[in-house]
Each structure stands twice: as structure tokens, then as C-alpha cells.
């Protein structure tokens, strides 16, 4: 169980690193935002599933 939580923590940290990388990446602001919005939709979908 503890191991599982560590995995989740690592996963969130990796997401944070990837967001850092994305912000610094050679990519238009609009495309960066679209990618982040897409990620938000995934998270929101997950929350809806949990509620149902």
C-alpha cells in the first residue's frame, strides 16, 4: 500500500517535471495551453467517473 502511494507521488512529480519541460519547450503558447487543457479534461473526466 505504502509502495503504491510512493508510485503515485512519483507519477505526480513526473507530471510536474513534464509541465516544467513543456513550459520551457520550443512550442507556441497556444499549443502548450491546448495540451494542458486536454490534460485538464482527462482529470475532470476521472472526477465525474468517481462521482457516478
Amino acid at each position: 500500500m505504502e509502495n503504491k502511494k510512493e508510485q503515485v507521488t512519483d507519477l505526480i512529480l513526473e507530471i510536474r517535471e513534464k509541465l516544467d519541460e513543456l513550459l520551457l519547450a520550443d512550442f507556441s503558447e497556444a499549443n502548450k495551453e491546448a495540451l494542458i487543457r486536454q490534460a485538464l479534461e482527462i482529470v475532470e473526466e476521472g472526477k465525474k467517473r468517481t462521482v457516478q
Binding site: 503515485v8 505526480i12 482529470v43
Partner: protein, 247 residues
């Protein structure tokens, strides 16, 4: 006892100031990032995995995205680099496949070729010349020796209507008379200035018998015995020549 979920949330919170440091505050992008970070739910691992995958794919897309997108995003900056090169070497486009340039006293042909090799990566997304040639030329005095006085070169890289003349006869008519070092220099200047091949995708010959061919990058082939005897068309090579610039 450390609560991994709480630790993760704390780290999520800490992430926001670092983003602010990087990109400044008040941008739509920063708001979106902050929103995403606070929305991440440690109990929904499936969603976290999908977000992780999405961002990974997105970053791969950044690294491998089409050249056209990159050029569009950096058009002004890259155009500035191109103009800087054109001004430095006073590159002049004299015709469809004709170019003039000036090496100021103290410059070498190799300095232009090196600058072109550097810029081609950004401007064209590819090499301007195969690397082993650069290694060879940087030890070749014809390429590396700085010119004592300003040197102006003007070259026609695609001579049309050349009859089936052997090499010697062509030389007497003032074609295929270009030194390899000048031909390469002119080719590279034209490439950076226009993005095009001075030889119009043809193989051409320099005075010293070497054959220059443009494929993905400039390639020089050592001369063969048959090059001396074959006329231009039979050997598949087009002619080049020095030209006088219009006054």
C-alpha cells in the same frame, strides 16, 4: 509518518511559484498550469497515467514537430540570422542560379562555409555539407587561408546550352573553370540566401576535376579519369563558370 498524498499535494503547490519564476505571472498559460496542478487527484491513478502519457507524447511532438511549424514560430529571428549572413558576406543573387559574394580582407572561404553549416541547421533543418568535407577543408589552405584583400566572387552554377565539348575545349570557352573552393563557397552562400541549390540539383564540375553534387547536402566526389575526356552531357555533369557581375 509521512503522508505521500499530502506530500504530493504540497509539491504540487510548490510547483506553481517555480512556473511563475519561469514564465512570469498573469498569463493564460500559467493559469492553465496552476489549474491542472491543483486538479490532479492522487487517488485517480488512471487519470494521472493518462495525463503523464499525454504530456510525454506532447513533448515528443515538440521535439519532432514539422520544420514548417518551427520556421513559422521563429520566422523573424531566423530571417535576422539570414540577413546577418547576407550582409557579412555581401551575398548578391544575380540570376536564377547565379550568386555573387565578397570575402572581406582577413576572412577565409572556410569562415563562410562554417557560418553556412551552422545556419543551415536552423534555417533549413538539415546539413549544408557533409561533415567529412568540413574536416578535410579545414586543413586545406585553399579553403582556410584568409584573403589579403577583399575578394569578390561571382559564379553561374547552372550554365545552359553547353555543347558536347570535352573538358579541354570547355575550359577554353570559359566554362568549368571554377576552383573547387570557390564553387563550394558560392554554393553555400546561395543556399543560405535563398534556401536553394545553386546547381539546380545537377552534378557540376570544378576546374580541378572534382565533381560537386547536391543531394541532401553538398557532396564532393574525387575526379575519375573519364571526367577528363567525357563531354559535359555524356558525363552527366553540368558546367559552371565565373561571371562578371553587372555594373
Amino acid at each position: 509518518m509521512i503522508n505521500p498524498a499530502a506530500t504530493a499535494q504540497q509539491q504540487i503547490g510548490e510547483a506553481v511559484p517555480s512556473f511563475q519564476t519561469v514564465v512570469g505571472t498573469g498569463t493564460k498559460l500559467l493559469s492553465a498550469v496552476a489549474e491542472l496542478m491543483s486538479a490532479l487527484d492522487p487517488s485517480d491513478e488512471a487519470a494521472l497515467q493518462r495525463v503523464h502519457g499525454l504530456l510525454s507524447d506532447g513533448l515528443r511532438g515538440v521535439q519532432g514537430r514539422p520544420l514548417a511549424d518551427y520556421l513559422e514560430d521563429h520566422r523573424d529571428y531566423l530571417e535576422g540570422l539570414r540577413q546577418g549572413f547576407i550582409e557579412k558576406y555581401d551575398v548578391r543573387i544575380l540570376g536564377a542560379f547565379q550568386v555573387g559574394l565578397t570575402l572581406k580582407a582577413g576572412m577565409s572561404r572556410m569562415s563562410l562555409i562554417r557560418d553556412a553549416a551552422y545556419l543551415a541547421q536552423d534555417l533549413l533543418g538539415r546539413h549544408s555539407v557533409y561533415g567529412w568535407h568540413l574536416e578535410k577543408w579545414k586543413k586545406d589552405s585553399a579553403f582556410c587561408t584568409p584573403v589579403a584583400d577583399d575578394l569578390t566572387l561571382a559564379i553561374d552554377g547552372y550554365v545552359k546550352n553547353v555543347s558536347r565539348l570535352p573538358r579541354v575545349a570547355r575550359a577554353s570557352r570559359g566554362v568549368s573553370n571554377v576552383e573547387l573552393c570557390d564553387l563550394v563557397t558560392a554554393h553555400q552562400a546561395f543556399l543560405i540566401a535563398t534556401g536553394k541549390d545553386l546547381f539546380n540539383t545537377r552534378t557540376v564540375r570544378a576546374r580541378d576535376g572534382a565533381v560537386v553534387h547536391f543531394g541532401l547536402a553538398l557532396l564532393v566526389r574525387e575526379p575519375s579519369a573519364s571526367d577528363e575526356l567525357l563531354p559535359v552531357r555524356e558525363s552527366g555533369n553540368r558546367a559552371v563558370r565565373y561571371i562578371q557581375e553587372p555594373v
